[in-house]
């Protein structure tokens, strides 16, 4: 095979799908073929059956909705705080010097370790779930955006100065629009991470949501339901990612032209 040689779109799709097919075939073979104990791993067919029952009888779609709401709520909360801070840190070096060491430290604090504290402070209600996602996302967004903004093309900034821009309009009319697509990309990336935090938040001290269903199914050894829950998370993540990507493309046609 020639390295770096491009692939036709059709072949790309076929190859991409064929791995899913192989994966499911392998899963079916080890479960239906009796190579693993049914108690530990459900087969694909009973997974689908369990999933259908969950949706129809146990109103699992309500759990899905509540999880989606938590992810987006926490994510929007984190973005509203982090985007302006990240821009400020990237644009003004004193702000960066003041905040960067703390944010870098806070970034390594695992969001899941905060759950006991957050439960003490905010109870086990919705606020606590939002805060877990907030804590998990906010520092990451701040840092990535600060770095991107800090590497704004200097020649564009200089050109704007020679056209009469003031310091404030450099931030508003050059730094912000120049980095807007990258900021949007960062948010898309972090939204993916937010999905992992929400499940952790729901595994502990929760009575609703996809994570709650999963932990609940564990005690009943309903591995089919667990796998169904995991697949639902993956699908929603994939869909929101697609939507986000399409939205970014629509918002910033100039970056693709």
């Amino acid at each position: 095979m020639r390295p770096l040689h491009p692939l036709s779109p059709g072949l790309r799709t076929v190859l991409g799908i064929s791995f899913f097919v192989l994966f499911i075939l392998f899963w079916a073979w080890i479960t239906l073929g009796g190579h693993v104990n049914r108690i530990f791993l459900a087969d694909p067919l009973s997974m689908l059956r369990d999933g259908w029952r969950l949706l129809v009888e146990d109103r699992f779609w309500l759990d899905i909705l509540i999880t989606i709401w938590r992810v987006f709520g926490g994510f929007v909360l984190a973005s509203v705080v982090a985007v302006p801070l990240g821009i400020a840190m990237g644009a003004w070096k004193p702000v960066e010097a003041f905040l960067e060491p703390f944010v870098s430290f806070a970034r390594y604090l695992p969001a899941s370790a905060f759950i006991p504290l957050l439960i003490l402070w905010a109870g086990i209600g919705e606020l606590e779930k939002l805060l877990v996602i907030f804590v998990g996302s906010v520092f990451q967004i701040i840092l990535i955006i600060a770095v991107k903004v800090g590497s704004t093309r200097r020649d564009l900034v200089e050109a704007a100065y020679t056209l009469g821009s003031t310091n404030n309009s450099i931030v508003k009319r050059v730094i912000m629009p120049a980095n807007a697509p990258e900021i949007a990309e960062t948010l898309r990336l972090v939204l993916g991470w937010a999905w992992t935090y929400v499940i952790v938040a729901e595994l502990i001290g929760s009575s609703s949501g996809i994570g709650y269903m999963i932990i609940n199914s564990q005690s009943r050894l309903a591995t089919g339901q667990i796998i169904f829950g995991i697949i639902v998370i993956g699908l929603i993540g994939l869909l929101s990612d697609f939507a986000f990507k399409a939205f970014n493309r629509w918002l910033f046609p100039w970056s693709l032209a």
Partner: protein, 265 residues
């Protein structure tokens, strides 16, 4: 009175990692008359771009000062329009919006901007491309837009830092004629930095030749070729004589630059 006065401007860069400070520019004195087209010609690394950036206010001189219409330059401003060698159009703005950028910064109303933008789009021959993104334009078209963007602000002086340096030879020739044509019609004080001898002569009413680093003025040559200039001028006898003279001047400096640098540089 001179439009632009450069008084004893020098520039020294601090040494890297405790090394010796590097002198980029020896003190330079220069007076530019209104509506003059000055080209600054020098080998690469001679500090000609540094000099231009000091006039623009993007860098501070180590000594000396720059006066535009008698006022000292301390920071960049819209009275000194600049065209860079790199493509510096704002990629998120269309051609028309790029040209309108300075006018918008000045707080001009949309309606008033539109008329000015249209006239400059016309001037640089970009009719029909007003709504294109910079990425959709060729290098020559991007630089034409950059010239229009700088001129739309109606600056007191236009500074150009090897604006056609990244373009192919044919496009470069056309761009020279375009810019010269604009200058012949609209009159503007221009400082144009280049390392291309032909370009320096063709465009200029005066060529300033700079020495190898640390740069100082080696010669100051008036170019009395008639206007309007046509590209065929480049093959005339007078042009060749000027070219021969400047080639000799610049060659010595280029050799000095080459000798001063280690082979790996």
């Amino acid at each position: 009175m001179s439009k632009l006065l450069i008084e004893g401007v020098s520039r020294t860069f601090a040494g890297v990692r405790g090394g010796q400070p590097v002198r980029a520019l020896m003190p330079i004195d220069m007076a530019v008359a209104a509506n003059d087209f000055i080209t600054i010609l020098g080998p690469s690394g001679c500090g000609k771009s540094t000099l231009l950036r000091i006039v623009a206010g993007l860098e501070a001189p180590s000594e000396g000062r720059v006066l535009l219409d008698g006022k000292a330059v301390t920071r960049p401003g819209p009275d000194r329009g600049m065209v860079f060698q790199s493509y510096t159009l704002f990629p998120w703005l269309t051609v028309a919006e790029n040209i309108a950028f300075g006018l918008r910064e000045r707080g001009m109303a949309q309606k008033e901007r539109e008329g000015i933008v249209a006239s400059y789009v016309d001037l640089v021959g970009l009719k029909g491309f007003e709504n294109h993104w910079p990425k959709q334009l060729s290098g020559g078209m991007q630089q034409r837009t950059a010239i229009a963007r700088a001129l739309a602000n109606d600056p007191e002086i236009l500074l150009l830092d090897e604006p056609f340096g990244a373009l192919d030879n044919q496009t470069r020739g056309l761009m020279q004629e375009l810019l010269l044509g604009i200058w012949e019609r609209r009159k503007k004080t221009v400082l144009f930095v280049t390392h291309d001898i032909e370009e320096a002569i063709f465009m200029a009413s005066r060529v300033i030749v700079m020495t190898a680093r640390p740069g100082r003025i080696k010669s100051d040559v008036a170019i009395d070729l008639p206007h309007p200039r046509h590209y065929t001028l480049k093959t005339s006898a007078e042009f060749s004589a000027l070219k021969a003279r400047l080639t000799e001047d610049i060659r010595i400096e280029a050799m000095r630059t080459a000798e001063a640098q280690p082979a790996t540089a």
